[in-house]
Symmetry: C2
Subunit: 193 residues, 2 copies
Amino acid sequence: MTDGVAERSRPRDRILETAQDMFHKHGIKGVGVDAITEAAGTNKMTLYRHFESKDELVIECLRATAAKASRIWDEFEARHPGDKLAQLHAWVQKASELLSADSRGCDMANAAVELTETDHPARRVIKELKEAQREKLVALCRDAGIGQAELLADTLSLLLEGARVSMQSVGAEGPSAQFVRMAESLIASFRAR
Amino acid sequence: MTDGVAERSRPRDRILETAQDMFHKHGIKGVGVDAITEAAGTNKMTLYRHFESKDELVIECLRATAAKASRIWDEFEARHPGDKLAQLHAWVQKASELLSADSRGCDMANAAVELTETDHPARRVIKELKEAQREKLVALCRDAGIGQAELLADTLSLLLEGARVSMQSVGAEGPSAQFVRMAESLIASFRAR
DNA sequence: TCTGGAAGTTACAGACCGGTAACACCCTAG
DNA sequence: CTAGGGTGTTACCGGTCTGTAACTTCCAGA
């Protein structure tokens, strides 16, 4: 049967895509490799021929997710070429849209919550990817002409991260409902300084 | 052997305390009931005589955690009786202290991330407890004489929630390092309106 | 048409999981 | 001293987990 994953792509790609989706929805420890391969229309042996372990698969999924996020940033630049302030507003808008569309939050943050072993191989990858995203937002704020760019970027980061996790515990009608308002008035106040 | 849990309390109390600690450190799905009972210096049968299932134990742990948090709020009132603004600053201070002391974040939010089944019995408890905490912070902001009390409370909530989860993915040197500064300047700007 | 590698199949190992049954023990209240 | 409830012990159930072995099937390219 088809599972939403294109049937005629290569097994490795199907596994990666299916795993991303299932890890996102059910958590990492909430999904077994058997379930992934079945949903991907393949089998366990094929998974282990392409990924040396479940942990390795998790890491590849996180990288893929980060790559998708990166493509969204490209859209900002494409839609508002050179206009960094407009891109920052677009970031807020897009973040809000993703919040409404999906209540399971950020895969990397969720993974960090689930994978508690301090030496888990995925942890350093999570940290690297999150740091890269932070750098990007700081650069965007700075290039948008904001003075305390790091502080604004970090505040926006925490707001979004908080909105994503709040969504999962109290739902969409909780504090996260006001995210856009908070972010926009924050940007305004930083621009006024 | 002793495990930090008082040896001469009742088994039920030892189990509850140990489970809280282990769920907090290693996550819910990362700890088995065997490990809990062993660390609590008792056995599985005794656990199941006091709690009808692991899920039920999880719920009791969350309630206990919320009760501890509630006691912290009592301290605010005790230390700054009647002075709600001082209590709000104390809230910021205390939040920051807890952030520094422990990088595993909020048990309820973490549980919400781990327990993805929408009908999991713990989810409604999490929602109730989180909503109660929200109410408290809103009331504190309002009683401190702040106009848009709900908005400030929700913004502070998201900042703290974000700081707690950011801590787990990027560490203490990430955006969460600026939490106090963000919170205080936010309070100041709300007071100025 | 032949061949070699990728993919599928089945079965299994070994560990862990939540939860239960049956029974022995101990300690305290009467 | 005795009875009984709380507790400890051991063994087990059925299920799930990650990961592997051995074998078969399929299909594309030479």
